[in-house]
Amino acid sequence: MAELTLGVFPSLVGSMSLDFSFKLAEAAIAKGHKVNMWLSGNAVMMAKKGQKAFKDYSHLEKRMKELMSKGMEITVCEACAEARGYHKEDVPEGMKRASMDWYLAKTVKTDRLLHIGGE
């Protein structure tokens, strides 16, 4: 079993990269790997609970909760979230908030880091 850390920066709406990140995490967990995910930049859209699941838009809250229940650690950039008006009380259950040093620290122990860039 290896540890994979995903640094994820694209937004939920307007790009499929965030969807891809979750699919990749799902596949890695299914193979028995440990996955950490850092959400920063526009990817902090995931830090708002209760988003309505319209069929015309990507919706990842359910999948995110399933992955967290399987041990995936998801942490969102506190400053990026606050800058967009997503506050502590908005965060879905199980998701953590931290400053960017959390992500930097993960680079030490993780076997692979995949950085999925933003817009």
């Binding site: 960017m100 040093d101 959390w102 930097l104």
Partner: protein, 138 residues
């Protein structure tokens, strides 16, 4: 106990994308990452500007005046002041008509730094890509 080398490669120009700012703020966060790490572990970042990303390193930016936000120039100075190496690709500077005296090389106006910006070839940046543990491409 480990010192992990990271290379932040910035290829986007300033202000039209959040990427350069995120690269710089993440690199600066290496200074406080130890609160999440085991004793003796550390991260050692280098920031390299390539392609249109070299525009982030242009001197005398007026971002606060124009956009009401801090400049990438000020973040680059922050990196230099905290001993985070800053590299700028020479070939891309030439392509954009930029001379060394147009680039941020020190942080004198913010209290000074022990290191200065390095002008390097893309081949040097590629060599660094080969030796770091993780590459973060912004």
């Amino acid at each position: 106990m480990a010192a992990v080398k990271l290379l932040f490669v910035v290829q986007r120009p300033p202000y039209k994308s959040e990427n350069p700012r995120l690269a710089l703020t993440h690199a600066l966060a290496s200074q406080t990452a130890e609160i999440y790490m085991d004793d003796g572990d550390s991260v050692v970042p280098t920031v390299a500007f390539v392609g249109d990303g070299v525009l982030n390193a242009v001197k005398s930016q007026q971002a606060m005046k124009a956009y009401g936000v801090t400049s990438t120039e000020s973040h680059i100075k922050g990196c230099l002041m905290t001993d985070v190496p800053v590299w700028v690709c020479k070939e891309d500077m030439e392509r954009l008509g930029l001379k060394e005296d147009q680039i941020v090389t020190d942080a004198e106006d913010m209290g000074g730094a022990d290191i200065s910006t390095k002008f390097v070839s893309f081949a040097d940046i590629q060599k660094e890509m080969d030796v770091v543990k993780h590459l973060l491409f912004f």
